[in-house]
């Protein structure tokens, strides 16, 4: 109880509350602009978090990401252009509702069920984390190795791309993590005599490059999205309670699917929305209505992507394995703020953990009034031409990366990873898998090499401990899964490969 009070005291500071409010507004604006994703919003926030207290820093990330995921629905519903990738799955459905003359209903569903989903995700974090932490206290390097490996495999399994390319991206990330002297022997590795590379590739500039610069590069080649006509909205929340009562099952299902996908490393809000939307269609009593402005799928997917956001913090806080790309950035901030992820975080810094839960709940509650305000001014915000937003983002990339270490080499890293991210995305290599490789590389190598040294080079102990054996079999199953599915499909439909279409 005293820890809970202490947690409230931590959150109820002026700087924390102000940080939540400002980050929320920032998240709403960035999320609603097409082409700027929630991950990018978070990445650009990091340099600012350096100068805040630990709780305020984490609060900005939580608030900004939650708001951005919701506000990506606004241009989706009004313009049929998803503001963030997480809204892409149900953009058509929401836009169909707008065309039927119910934009209030569509946006109301988005804000109301996003908030409820976010709270459900937070509850899962509260319930799941402590018992898992208890278990994780007994883990040795073998378990950590398998856990990290499993995390990497999950990221490749759920990527919306060819699994082979996803694995290649992930390995590329691991290779990037090899650079520097942070290896078992402290020898400079792949530094090519460049002093700046001795410390390795820094994660934050690399992420800023992959998620922000490559986005601006893409904007250079695509047409400007159309302007949003100004319209007056009626009551946004009208009828939402009735919908909540009517669609209990889809909502619960959406929350649960979102939570599960959030916990899986590397799979985030966009994946949760896709899976939930198609599940909703499959289990619905009236699947024919989907795509014509039917609220059911919107409810399920809208709840799902926000639920995944909170549960993505479970593996991040417990093991330092990011649940999605947003928490990949958050982990960097946690380390910097002395809140090193790990099971001991829950025993030694319990009040900080409670504070984190409270922030999540606050963020999801104020999402409703702030979200409604945002919907009403969306026409104004979306009027900002891209040519005025993108230059500022490039400038913030440069200054933000420099601020991470007062080192201009970070800006070169940003530029390089911008190009890498852009080329990979264009060629179907999922960047999220690479990011996960970069973030987890050191951890994977450390647990791998330490385990091998402990076992004197023998592989047997990797499988002999019970938990390690379970994790190992899961990992191997994940590794063989795409291969199995591929052979099965090849046997079943041998012609499918011949009639495939080449990319334009």
């Amino acid at each position: 109880m005293s820890t809970l009070l202490e947690a409230f005291r931590l959150v109820m500071q002026t700087d924390v509350l102000l940080a939540i409010l400002l980050a929320s507004i920032y998240g709403l604006v960035v999320g609603s602009l097409p082409g700027l994703s929630a991950t990018m919003a978070t990445a650009l926030l990091v340099p600012v978090t350096f100068y805040l207290s630990p709780i305020a820093a984490v609060a900005t990330i939580i608030a900004a990401s939650a708001m951005a995921i919701f506000s990506g629905d606004i241009p989706g519903a009004l313009l049929r252009i998803p503001g963030t990738p997480a809204s892409a799955a149900y953009t058509d459905e929401a836009y169909a509702m707008t065309r039927k003359g119910q934009p209030e209903m569509a946006l109301g569903i988005c804000v109301w069920f996003s908030a409820l989903g976010g709270i459900a995700g937070t509850l899962s974090l509260i319930v799941l984390a402590p018992p898992l932490a208890e278990m994780a206290l007994n883990f040795s390097t073998y378990e950590y190795f398998w856990l990290a490996f499993l995390g990497l495999m999950c990221a490749t399994m759920v990527a919306r791309s060819s699994p082979v390319k996803a694995i290649a991206s992930m390995l590329l990330g691991l290779l990037v993590a090899c650079i520097g002297i942070e290896n078992p022997a402290g020898t400079p590795r792949f530094t090519f005599g460049i002093t700046d590379l001795l410390g390795g590739i820094e994660v934050i500039p690399a992420l800023v490059g992959v998620f922000a610069v490559s986005e601006v590069m893409r904007a250079m080649l695509t047409a400007e999205p159309p302007k949003l006509p100004y319209r007056r909205f009626g009551s946004i929340l009208k009828g939402q309670i009735a919908l909540t009562k009517k669609y209990v099952a889809p909502q619960v299902r959406g929350n649960i699917v979102g939570i599960i996908i959030g916990v899986l490393p590397g799979a985030g809000a966009d994946m949760a929305a896709w899976v939930s939307y198609s599940m909703s269609k499959r289990f619905s009593k009236e699947p024919k209505k989907f795509g014509t402005g039917h609220p059911e799928g919107l409810i399920e997917a809208g709840a799902s992507n926000n639920a995944s956001l909170a549960s993505g913090w479970v593996p991040s806080l417990l093991f330092g394995i990011p649940g999605d790309t947003i928490t990949a950035i958050a982990i960097g901030v946690l380390y910097m703020k002395g809140l090193n992820p790990g099971p001991t975080l829950f025993t030694e810094r319990a009040s900080s953990m409670y504070a984190l839960y409270i922030i999540f709940i606050i963020a999801n509650i104020i999402m409703i009034p702030l979200g409604i305000a945002m919907i009403r001014v969306a026409a104004l915000v979306l009027r900002a031409p891209r040519a005025s937003v993108m230059p500022v983002i490039v400038l913030l990339c440069a200054v933000g990366a420099f601020a991470t270490g007062n080192n201009l080499f970070a800006v070169i890293t940003v530029a390089a990873f911008g190009v890498i991210g852009y080329v990979m995305e264009r060629n179907g290599y999922p960047v999220a898998a690479m990011v996960l490789g970069i973030v987890m590389g050191t951890m994977v190598e450390q647990s791998f090499v330490t385990s091998l040294i402990k076992s004197d080079g023998s592989i047997l102990p990797f499988f002999s401990r019970p938990v390690a054996a379970v994790l190992a079999s899961m990992t191997i199953a994940a590794l063989l899964w795409p291969l199995g599915v591929w052979t099965w499909r090849l046997l079943r439909r041998p012609t499918a490969y011949i009639v495939r279409n080449e990319k334009p």
Partner: protein, 173 residues
């Protein structure tokens, strides 16, 4: 930068091979079998294998499914882009390189000519490359650097170089 799977796959093979080779030549830790060489070796070999599979088109089908899903939603935007692409293809392709090139320019220039002029040039170029008129680009190029300077230099105390334009009247160093 749309390349065929064969090209990117073979690039991965080459990169993986080089990493494995480079890793294997790292000095071992005396008295131990496992050193800094093991991990790059494993990762490099894995990358080379994946690259080979990509080059042979394994797993291509999954991508097509995902693309079909996405194409349904972005079809309207995509057709606009393709239509414009045909008009001046190579020039548009190069425009994507403007942001990273500007970041490199920032690295080279910021210590010599200072933050404000460098940032102004960066903002102006990006804005014009995105098709802004001068009426928008010039005020933006003046305003945005000043604002960023205010936030980062004054509030967050990031040492941004002042260079040619020391502005004591703005409280800048």
């Amino acid at each position: 930068m749309q390349l065929s799977d064969r090209v990117t796959g073979l690039f991965m093979v080459a990169l993986g091979g080089l990493a494995a080779y480079g890793g294997s030549r790292l000095p071992p830790v005396p008295g131990q079998q496992i050193g800094p060489n093991v991990f790059p070796l494993v990762v490099g070999i894995g990358l080379a294998v994946c690259g080979g599979m990509i080059a042979f088109g394994i797993g291509r089908r999954y991508e097509e499914e995902a693309e079909a899903d996405l194409a349904k939603i972005t079809s309207q935007i995509a057709t606009d882009t393709v239509a414009e692409d045909h008009s001046h293809n190579w020039w548009r392709g190069l425009r994507a390189l403007v942001p990273p090139a500007l970041l490199l320019f920032y690295v080279l220039a910021v210590d010599r000519i200072g933050f404000l002029p460098t940032a102004a040039a960066l903002v102006l170029t990006t804005s014009l490359a995105l098709g802004a008129r001068l009426r928008l680009a010039v005020p933006l190029a003046i305003g945005a650097p000043l604002l960023v300077n205010l936030v980062f230099s004054k509030l967050l105390r990031v040492p941004l170089p002042s260079g040619l334009l020391p502005m004591p009247w703005l409280g800048l160093p």
